[in-house]
């Protein structure tokens, strides 16, 4: 049964799913944040592989560039900046792990149990080349122009915010945004 379940699947899916899950587990269990980042990058790579298998080449690339390239580098950069390479994260209690496993497991079971027959309900229309850069780009700049523009606002806001928070004030008492007159 189990073997049928596993070996009935395409080999690519199996392999990359395996890598994905393994790396993801490594991310959440490893003590060293730097290794976590690296494992996460690996996860992203395998997810990109999934994308490719799903014929979503554009997203596969974007995923690599944005996530693995930009975001993760940012993470690494911050880790290095703060010199957080290892062992400054206190261990949580064993009981807490159990609770977390239980909670996450319950959610997983519920999701899996509730969705096991869901594929029958989905209109299947496997198709074409929607995931290609060309077609996706076309949609993005016509139908999805507004959100695309608006994500610009988002970025601007995020940038301003990040700068605001990140910059070191000359005097330590900025009290930005509060009414208080006296230093806290």
């Amino acid at each position: 049964m189990l073997s049928a379940l596993i070996f009935g699947l395409p080999i690519g899916f199996l392999v990359f799913s395996f890598i994905t899950i393994l790396c993801a587990l490594y991310v959440v269990t490893n003590d060293n944040p730097v290794f976590s980042v690296l494992a996460l990058i690996l996860t992203f790579f395998s997810i990109s592989a999934h994308y490719v298998m799903l014929n979503a080449q554009f997203l596969a690339v974007v995923n690599l560039i944005v996530y693995a390239g930009a975001i993760m580098v940012l993470f690494l950069f911050v880790l290095m900046l703060l010199n957080l390479s290892k062992e400054n994260e206190p261990k949580v209690k064993y009981g807490w792990h159990f609770a977390a496993v239980f909670a996450a497991g319950m959610l997983l079971i519920i999701l899996a149990a509730s969705l096991h027959k869901s594929s029958e309900q989905i209109m299947r229309n496997p198709a074409q080349d929607i995931g290609m850069v060309k077609s996706l780009g076309k949609v993005l700049f016509t139908d999805y122009l507004v959100p695309f523009e608006l994500s610009g606002i988002l970025f601007l806001a995020a940038m301003v915010g990040a700068v605001l928070l990140g910059k070191r004030d000359k005097n330590n008492e900025t009290e930005a945004g509060d009414s208080s007159n006296n230093p806290s």
């Binding site: 899916f13 991310v27 994308y51 490719v52 979503a56 206190p90 989905i122 990040a162």
Partner: protein
């Protein structure tokens, strides 16, 4: 590679399972890790699970909206990560730690 070939032998529910597993792994990480940066990473993992699901649905149904949503999720995730890291850096300056467990003064 052709999606036909993938879905000819592969049910969409496998992707649902995979994404769910990934999401729950991320969730587990969120629940157990105390380093803010790692927490953020776990959240990114959860987002990726969602992305994978979107793409799978999108391909399965031949609808581009899902993939575009994923694109926007990525964009937003980047912005969010930037702000989040800025916040983490800021708190690190104040408490010399990124341990979120230290922040329990506001309560009750």
């Amino acid at each position: 590679m052709n999606t036909d070939s993938i879905f000819s032998s592969l049910d969409i529910s496998h992707y649902i399972y995979l994404s769910s597993v990934l999401f729950c792994i991320g969730l587990f990480g969120v629940l157990t890790r105390r380093n803010a940066i790692v927490l953020l990473m776990c959240i990114e993992l959860m987002l990726n699970a969602v992305n994978l699901l979107f793409v799978a649905f999108s391909s399965y149904m031949g609808d581009s909206a899902g993939q575009l949503f994923v694109f926007f999720i990525m964009v937003v995730a980047a912005a969010e990560a930037a702000v989040g890291l800025a916040i983490i850096v800021m708190i690190y300056r104040n408490v010399r730690s990124t341990d979120v467990g230290l922040f329990d003064k506001l309560k009750g």
